[in-house]
Amino acid sequence: MIAFLMTIEDEETRSKLEEIYTTYHRDMYITAYSILKDHHESQDIVQEAIIRLSKNLYKISDIKCKKTRAYLVIIVRNLSYNAYNKRKGIVMLENEEINRLPDDEGILIEEYLIKMEKSSEIIKYLKQIHPPYADILTLRYYYELEIKEISILLDITENNVSVRIHRALKSLKAIMEKEGIDYEKTI
């Protein structure tokens, strides 16, 4: 009976994590190494990322695509930032006890600013904001993860996730408003 049951496994599901690892382990390792400059720590980070990812595997539908690659890099690099900060004794401001904030309410980018945007300009703004903020916005709005899912993946509290999203939106809006004003001045 057991032998029979074991033969009816879904091979595709079984090899998903394996395929992700085989395809992206180098990208993950190099990303971690570029931040930490330490082989041991980089290996630990990749392992941690894999463990966290394996609990959230259903979110990945297509393995060999830019979206999945960026997703893994975001996870690895944020875990690396955490490790780096820990090593340097840096305490992120979000680690303070802050009441959870609504991430997509209160801060709304004005319509005229949105309509004005071109792809090249969005990239310009993204480069101006703090990378972890851009990452967290991407996880929330592009990968459409819940606050709890982001918290698990990046090993930060749900409160911190909310705070980061709030600050990222605020920062992006401020940059866009400044650029918008500059843009209007040129007309």
Partner: protein
């Protein structure tokens, strides 16, 4: 006005979500390009073999857990199906056993359906326990009473179909009628306003019906249905019933 305002906010929220989705998309593209550059920059870095080894071990554990989970899930599913099949099979078997005469359990079912005025008494034969007895000269296989109260005489001994009738009477207009019939016999008894008592006669279920100074005792054994009808008291009737012998 207020509604219009909230609709406008909702619209702006959706626009923001779309904008942020697009921003995320661009960010992912940026990351992809940046990672390519990083790989080129760190092309000489070798990935430690211990990482691969760790992954293989970890993946094995994960797969084992998944497999066990899947097996449990499948087992539960199959168990449910097996349980349903088992119940259906049991039901079908029971129905078959009840309907096939050859494997019927060795007892008689006396089915008594009480209607408003009459009780319908049905006797069903258990073929498995049917045995043949010695035949009397005139009648084939019959029971006769070894006890009859004093001063009673046999008035008639008649046979109609599969039923035999013995009638005893005395000079006080008291009578005893003993009727014995083969199985699958049905008779109707007036039970309106009667006292009905369930009795046990040598391990056989029976029914004693008393109405208007008349007693009817009806029961069956493995091969016959008996009915004693009399205007004597119930104890005398029971004594006669307990003292029937086969000839």
């Amino acid at each position: 006005m207020k509604k219009q305002f909230s609709e406008e906010i909702e619209r702006l929220k959706k626009l923001n979500q779309m904008f942020l989705y697009d921003t995320g998309y661009k960010h992912a593209e940026n990351i992809d390009e940046k990672t390519d550059k990083l790989l080129a920059e760190f092309k000489d870095i070798e990935i430690p073999e211990s990482l691969d080894k760790w992954f293989l071990d970890y993946n094995k554990k994960i797969e084992k857990k998944k497999r066990i989970k899947r097996i449990k899930k499948t087992f539960v599913k199959i168990s449910k199906k097996i349980a349903v099949i088992f119940i259906i099979t049991s039901l079908i078997s029971s129905i078959i056993m009840m309907s096939v005469e050859a494997i019927r359990i060795n007892f008689f079912n006396m089915i008594i359906d009480t209607y408003q005025k009459y009780s319908l008494i049905s006797h069903q034969e258990n073929i498995g326990n049917n045995f043949k007895s010695k035949l009397p000269d005139e009648w084939k296989e019959y029971y006769y009473p070894t006890f009859i109260p004093d001063n009673f005489e046999l008035i008639t001994a008649e046979e109609f179909g599969n039923s035999k009738y013995l009638t005893f009477e005395n000079k006080l207009d008291q009578y005893i009628k003993i009727i014995q019939s083969s199985m699958n016999f049905e008779s109707q008894i007036d039970t309106e306003g009667a006292t009905i008592i369930e009795i046990d006669l040598n391990g056989n279920e029976g029914m004693l019906i008393e109405k208007d100074n008349r007693v009817i005792l009806i029961w069956n054994n493995d091969e016959r249905i008996f009915r004693i009808q009399s205007n004597l008291d119930r104890n005398t009737i029971l004594k006669i019933a307990n003292n029937l012998e086969k000839k």
